[in-house]
Amino acid sequence: MRIARVIGTVVGAAHHPTYDGRKVLLLKPEQPDGDSAGNAFVAVDQVQAGVGDRVLVLVEGTGVRQILGADAGPIRSLIVGIIDHIEYDDAQRN
């Protein structure tokens, strides 16, 4: 799973039927310390996340299908948690 920040909402009337009733958010991947970890991407929200939240994102299709079951269809990235905080093990921190 990846760490990302919700930076926007994606709204559109025309979409694949799989996306009916689903909230689509724009995310920016982050390192644990908040640095950018790549270009923004889009994900389907499963946990009522909102703009500004730091979230846990599943970006692997098989796992997404395990959660959404037969309804998964063409969805590859799914927000599965809102991160409260991250703790480093001091001994491992470099």
Partner: protein, 96 residues
């Protein structure tokens, strides 16, 4: 680094691709040329060909799904497709 093309991402339709001879599963599918975009809607990464499932047109801001899941957007799901347009963006609110 997360490879954008491996997940779901924004893009701009910049053209269409005509291929009269293609594999059976691709017959009748609309192929569009897409420029992947970042959160500022600036181009990021190489242009690519995506199958269209939502009747997007030139200039449309869209979101796509990449990799194996792209084929799941089609009725026939075992087809050689690795990018599919699955939504047209009417409104994008970004707070970076």
């Amino acid at each position: 680094m997360l490879r954008t093309s491996a997940i779901m991402y924004l893009g701009r339709v910049i053209g269409n691709v005509v291929a009269s001879q293609k594999m059976a599963g691709l017959e009748g599918q609309i192929l569009l040329l897409v420029q992947p975009l970042d959160e500022y809607q600036k181009p990021c990464g190489p242009k690519e060909v995506a199958v269209d499932t939502v009747k997007a047109g030139p200039g449309s801001l869209v979101y796509l799904v990449g990799s194996r899941e792209a084929a799941l957007a089609l009725e026939q799901t075992f087809v050689p497709v690795d990018a599919a347009i699955v939504g047209i963006v009417d409104d994008l609110e970004v707070q970076v």
